[in-house]
């Protein structure tokens, strides 16, 4: 077997430190690296977040998503079982399902009308035997060998995950106790989908996963949350990681300090951040109705590699990361509440949705930050980012927010899957 396309690209870049405290720019810009990621990360031994069961509640319901850059159908079969199928006809490779969502008995390719049941099984080939013995497929054509490509699927509290790889451990093991808990925490009762937001960012997808694992930026870039006390670097918060360091929970708890409490001596001295004199005319936007047994008011759970579960106050969403090329990715956010929310709570969540997403008062900056980096690292591919807030060495839980240690956790696991040896070359 020959090495996959792009494998040579990895030899161009060095990770001088085994703890990934230096990241070569080339990992973000090289199209060959992107190609390799599709095989080794997104089709590798990981669980990709796919969708919520609440989005496809009835038999026949389906939605189109993407895993890495592969188009995938997620649907519920007649017996209620969930399936994830590559949306590509086994005949000529056309997209089988063209509607973004809907309900169907079969997926029929419009090109030559091959049809597949909701488990991906090829069930119909028009004119398979030709007409009166003329035309059609050869007699030995076996439909059973031409099903839609399937992903293995597991669910946890209504969150659907899929993997291309036979070696991926069970979902519970992959998530580990801390992150299984986070999934169950957010999906502790049936959810009601409120809607979708989509955002296309013109930068590398890993700049976004970095950003998710960098609590240090939150209190410096997102001035809305600093100013209005949602989360300040001086407040109570931190990061938790799993045994591999690949997943991350960035958290902050109720009672995060306000600018007023921080005073002039806070760490914001010398920046133009942390202004103490601005107020909202309508502060109800910031109100938090406690709804979890713990005190977390901000909990963003980043699951390796394509998902983030978001609680910003009462703004709940799951974000799916869809890489498109080395230079572009899409974030598809599914916002939700719970089935037992009353009208007032739903209204509260819809108003608080202003905080998150592409127009989010505490999140819009991420799109800008990613593009700022992506543009500036265009040259000097073997120069490096510095990742040393919170110290070097092992990746462990952080009891403060002035840290980007979890970012290193992502990269250590990434290197492992990609076959990159970090720290061998000085």
């Amino acid at each position: 077997m020959t090495a996959p396309a792009g494998a040579d690209a990895l030899s161009c870049y060095t990770f001088p430190a085994a703890d990934c405290s230096r990241i070569p720019y080339g990992m973000y810009r090289d199209p060959d690296v992107f190609e390799l990621e599709q095989e080794r990360i997104f089709r590798g031994p990981i669980w990709n977040y796919l969708a919520l069961e609440a989005e496809i509640p009835d038999p026949g319901d389906y939605r189109l998503i993407a895993v890495g850059d592969t188009p995938v159908i997620v649907n519920r079969a007649r017996d209620g079982s969930l399936h994830a199928l590559v949306n590509r006809c086994s005949h000529r490779g056309a997209e089988v399902q063209r509607n973004l969502h809907g309900n169907t008995k079969v997926h029929t390719c419009c090109y030559h009308q091959w049809s597949f049941d909701l488990t991906g099984k090829l069930i119909g080939v028009p004119f398979q035997k030709g007409i009166k013995g003329v035309g059609g497929l050869p007699a030995d054509f076996d439909k059973a060998c031409h099903n839609l490509q399937r992903l293995r699927v597991e669910t946890m509290n209504g969150a659907i995950f899929g993997t291309f790889c036979d070696e991926t451990p069970p979902l519970e093991d992959y998530l580990g106790p801390v992150f299984s808990h986070q999934v169950r925490r957010l999906f502790h009762k049936p959810v009601r989908v409120l809607g979708y937001q989509r955002q296309r960012i013109f930068g590398n997808w890993k700049l976004y996963t970095d950003n998710l694992r960098d609590p240090n930026h939150g209190g410096l870039l997102h001035m809305f949350q600093i100013t209005f006390g949602i989360a300040r670097l001086s407040g109570t918060g931190g990061a938790r990681v799993d045994a591999d360091g690949k997943h991350n929970l960035s958290w902050a708890s109720q009672g995060g300090r306000t600018a007023q409490e921080d005073g002039a001596e806070g760490g914001y001295a010398g920046t133009d951040r942390g202004d103490m004199n601005i107020r909202l005319k309508d502060p109800s936007l910031l109100r938090y109705h406690k709804e979890f047994p713990d005190d977390l008011t901000l909990a963003v759970t980043s699951l390796f590699a394509n998902a983030a579960l978001q609680q910003i106050g009462n703004t709940l969403a799951v974000r799916q990361l869809r890489p498109r090329s080395a230079d572009e990715f899409e974030i598809v956010s599914t916002f939700f509440g719970y089935e037992d929310d009353d009208e007032a709570m739903t209204r509260h969540r819809l108003r608080k949705a202003n905080l998150a997403g592409p127009a989010g008062l505490v999140s819009m900056e991420d799109g800008e930050a990613v593009e700022l980096v992506h543009r500036a690292i265009v040259r000097d591919m073997d120069k490096h980012s510095i990742v040393e807030f919170g110290g070097r060495g092992p990746v462990v839980d952080q009891e403060n927010l002035i840290s980007d240690v979890p970012m290193r956790g992502f990269w250590i696991y990434y290197c492992k899957l990609m076959g990159i040896r970090a720290g061998e070359t000085a």
């Binding site: 955002q199 100013t227 819009m364």
Partner: protein, 161 residues
């Protein structure tokens, strides 16, 4: 079909000029002046056609009062970091129909964004759905729903559409 009854050229012109001003103020980054086009108990929301067609209530941006709209603008000025750009709104012919003690008005728009160095991209297309009322002899926006066909937001959505 044709011209809605009861809307004179004067009235139609007045509504068109409100839309014109709406776009012009946004393009000039006069956001504080733009919010004065709305009544105090206004509702401003940007929704994707995707959500609307699925009867999903989520907005991309939602301000259910003039105060909240002012806060959004204030936050843009003081707190948010976003891509520095110029907007250019092109607004199509406006349809005006009497509704209750005011008017309903709708128009298609296309919005182009340019960076400081003068490169332009198509940022968003869609349609305005407005409810208007005359207050103290001036036409004001009671409700503005912007339905965006371009639901996949490019980079981020900071300034209003």
């Amino acid at each position: 079909t044709g011209t809605p009854r009861g809307v004179s050229p004067e009235m139609h012109l007045e509504v068109t000029m409100l839309f014109e001003e709406y776009g012009r103020l946004l393009d000039a980054d006069s956001l504080e002046e733009w919010t004065t086009l709305f009544v105090p108990d206004c509702r401003y929301e940007i929704m994707s056609r995707e959500n609307i067609e699925q009867n999903l209530p989520l907005s991309l941006m939602l301000c259910d009062s003039r105060d909240m709209l002012d806060d959004r603008v204030y936050s843009l000025r003081e707190a948010n970091v976003f891509n520095i750009h110029y907007d250019c709104h092109l607004i199509g012919p406006v349809r005006v129909t009497p509704q209750g003690d005011g008017w309903a008005a709708t128009a298609a728009y296309s919005l182009f964004q340019s960076i400081q160095a003068g490169e332009t991209r198509l940022f968003s297309v869609g349609r305005y759905h407005a409810e208007l009322r005359r207050v103290d002899n001036v036409l004001r926006i009671v409700r503005m729903r912007v339905v965006v066909d371009t639901g996949a937001i490019l980079t981020l959505l900071a300034t209003p559409i």
